[in-house]
Amino acid sequence: MLGSISNRQATWFVHKFRRADLLRSADEETLMLGSISNRQLFQPRSLTDALSMLRDEGPLVPMAGCTDLYVALNFGTLDDTRFLNLWPLDSLRRIEMRGDVLSIGALATYTDMRRSPLVQKILPMLVAAAREIGGVQVQNRGTLGGNVANGSPAGDTLPVLAAADVVVVLRSAADMRRVPFSEYYTGYRRSVLGPGELIVAFEFRKLHGRQWFRKVGTRAAQAISKVVMAAVAGDPPRIAVGSVAPTVVRLPSTEAALGRGASIDEARQILLEEIAPIDDARSTAEYRQRVAANLLARFWNDSFITKSRRTRNL
């Protein structure tokens, strides 16, 4: 019997056998649930409650839709044992207008944003980004606050937030501050968020000009982006790119060049000087540079050339 199975399968059987042995000889609970029985969960009833728990009991890991957090927990790459459950705080889920500012709560899920008439009207590029994140299952759980807090340079909503010059609203037990998105990240997965602070909302001012979003990945759904770009065809245009630097970046020189009427070829050259992507598991630096330059051309073409052609045809 053993002779008929491949080497790989044989190793698997041995592995399984050893694990079963361990279970019998040791305390089953600690082995099976290992870290889970050590985990403490703080269950706030309100935002104020959550903020005082963070101040008095911190450091705590905030828990929202868990689409990133539980991946780390399932693979044992997270050592933290104390968690703060934000999911029941419905006040952080609101999407509403406050004066002329669109405020999106940190706990709004991608599905919430896709379905919100306000987001559809004011920030179609955010709807486009939300539609391409994960699959329906992830969109039903993942939150905008979580995407920002996780801080991956490949986060799909981050170029949208950068291009829209969003303001991040942070709260602590004692204080509240508003941080422009351009100042939020300080390095790879590092931000100005203090230990006692939570992201509570994002504030968007209305944008002038057509919005554009494009994600380039291995597959339309699920895949993490190789290059992701969000742009607004305003005057001057605003362009933000993800997955090409330790954090999401705006391209001020490219924007300025396009704003003063430079040709698209010239703008592509400037873009190539502005970004310095790296080789990694998902793509190469060379590919990313080329794709980013092509996306810029596509954005410009979609926003102006096709539009003027359309006007001519009318």
Partner: protein
């Protein structure tokens, strides 16, 4: 309120009020399989990529490997077992070869349930984009779902026609 010892979590599982003493951070997937004995929900990747563990949480499909039990507290959880094996989607999967090895099937069907009536082929593709299958090449899965939704609409009309025929004969 601090959960140090496991408190009781109460939720509705396939319409039945269910209590469990499992740790509030235990994955919903493990609670369903180990504590509730419902092994229809499968674990594929454990990282939200494959959708094999899809269940409905308050009617919306989620990856149960990424849901802590505490997030199901007070909610409605629906698993493949709720369909009882004779649901039109399940029959369509059998007829069209929508299932081969079967690991992805419960997740596929739960994602399909949430599509709403008469989904377009693009709607099916988008709604099932988070469910991976390594056997079928997807076409037979989409065919199964399209056929099941067609039947759901056709059936009442056929019933009505049959009723009318009988009524005419009686006259």
């Amino acid at each position: 309120m601090l959960f140090v010892r496991s408190p009781r979590v109460i939720f509705s599982l396939n319409g039945k009020r269910t209590r469990t003493n499992a740790h509030p951070m235990k994955r919903l997937l493990d609670v369903l399989r180990e504590d509730c004995g419902l092994t229809g929900t499968k674990e594929g990747c454990g990282e939200g990529e494959c959708g094999a563990c899809t269940v409905l949480l308050n009617g919306a499909p989620v990856n149960s490997c990424l849901v802590p039990l505490v997030h199901a507290a007070g909610s409605r959880v629906t698993t493949i077992e709720a369909l009882g094996g004779r649901h039109r989607l399940q029959r369509a999967f059998v007829e069209h070869g929508g299932a081969q090895c079967g690991i992805c099937t419960p997740g596929m069907i739960m994602a399909a349930i949430a599509l709403g009536p008469r989904p377009s082929i693009e709607g099916i593709r988008a709604g099932l984009a988070g469910n991976l299958c390594r056997c079928t090449g997807y076409s037979s899965i989409y065919r199964s779902i399209a056929d099941a939704s067609r039947r759901a609409l056709v059936r009442p009309a056929q019933k009505h026609a049959a009723f009318e025929r009988r009524a005419r004969r009686a006259r």
